[in-house]
Amino acid sequence: MSDDHSHEHDPLEKGTALRVRALEEILVAKGLVTSEALDTVISHYENNVGPRNGASVVARAWVDADFKARLLADGPDTLASLGFKGFQGEHMRVIENTPDVHNMVVCTLCSCYPWPLLGLPPAWFKSMAYRARAVSEPRAVLADFGVTLPADTSVRVWDSTAEVRYLVMPMRPAGTDALTEAELAALVTRDGMIGTALV
């Protein structure tokens, strides 16, 4: 985007879009930001940081019992040792699904999400319906995702009210003993790591 603000604004750009564009131009003109830095950080979080990070952690835990034990006991240090840390992920904890317990994650107050492991949240995670309902009727919310749990599986909903960011470790699917770690990682979905899908 040009830092020359003398040009005509696109007449098709309306309302908020125009306001954002004007703000960027003002900030660039003042030397507070560069459009290059914006482009880089947007691309970074749209393309480089995403659920493949979390999936690699889950797959490793599935094949390496020692790693899994360390990961569940000390999420922040174990994840940092793999390079997974940073903004909106300063203190991350991994929680394990079992046949008895299904975990899912919400932020009822805003949109807290483990950026270093999952990237930026999808719009539904930030939606009012999800934020409102996940704590009071998680099974009905799961049904919106096409998920039905056995009646004897209890649900734990983790509301990210502080600075801890949660990642759900789905159960390893049956019949995957022969798969490599990389093949296992390919099975792990983003929603599986939020707890709104099974893997």
């Binding site: 930001v33 840390k85 903004f87 009822t108 999808p122 719009a123 209890s154 649900v155």
Partner: protein, 222 residues
């Protein structure tokens, strides 16, 4: 504050729509707001709780009708004016009218910004910074409150009793951080609440649980 942002347990929002709402950005201006927010954090650090407080102050009817990233924009515009970096006149005129005071501010390029974000921010203190008031396993009640300031104690949990399942460590206190009144470090606890204790007979399954991370100041012995 008891704002509209505090949505846990509210009804009437309809179904979650995971398919049609499975996107991060739906317009380029949303990308730019996200980028501006991150880029400004590089040159002139601000705290996330202050940012959240500004979003919580959006009047309820506007909050419900304002796009997620427009809320970010509102907070960003407040922040820039509060720090004297941009004026209301500039926002109204869509043009730069004065030079920002760049003393102590170092603009960062993309690579430096990614490095800063990769490091994250300091939120936590050594465990021995504060003596914990509660032990794991203790029954606690979330204090009632009705103050106008920023806090991270959701309404649906206030007055309810749960059990401490973990002492996470010592963290900065959002209520004072949001007002730039200091870190006020204190223990943070993961507290488990039985669904039946929150929703009564309307709980989907009495044995389900909600777990929330609550600052020590939000809790009292049960």
């Amino acid at each position: 504050m008891d704002g509209i942002h505090d949505m846990g347990g509210m009804q009437g929002f309809g179904p979650v729509r995971p398919v049609e709402e499975d996107y991060k950005f739906s317009a380029d201006w949303q990308r730019r707001v996200f980028g501006l927010t991150q880029a400004l954090a590089g040159v002139t650090p601000f705290n996330v709780d202050e940012f959240r407080r500004e979003i919580e102050r959006i009047p309820p009817a506007d909050y419900l009708n304002t796009h997620y990233f427009e809320k970010w924009l509102i907070a960003l515009e407040w922040f820039l004016q509060d720090r004297g970096l941009v004026s209301a006149d500039e926002l109204a005129a869509s043009a730069k009218l004065f030079d920002a005071d760049m003393a102590g501010r170092e603009p960062v390029d993309g690579a430096a910004l990614i490095a800063i974000l990769g490091e994250g921010v300091e939120l936590e203190f050594p465990r021995e910074t504060a003596v914990p008031a509660f032990a794991e396993g203790a029954a606690v009640r979330v204090k009632p409150r009705h103050d106008a300031g920023h806090n991270r104690s959701p309404r649906y949990l206030r007055g309810r009793t749960g059990n401490i399942v973990a002492d996470v460590g010592v963290f900065q206190f959002p209520d004072t951080v949001a007002e730039n009144l200091g870190a006020n470090p204190q223990h943070l606890y993961t507290v488990s609440f039985a669904a039946a204790d929150l929703w009564g007979a309307d709980a989907e399954s009495a044995g389900d649980e909600v777990l929330a991370d609550l600052m020590e100041s939000y809790l009292e012995p049960a």
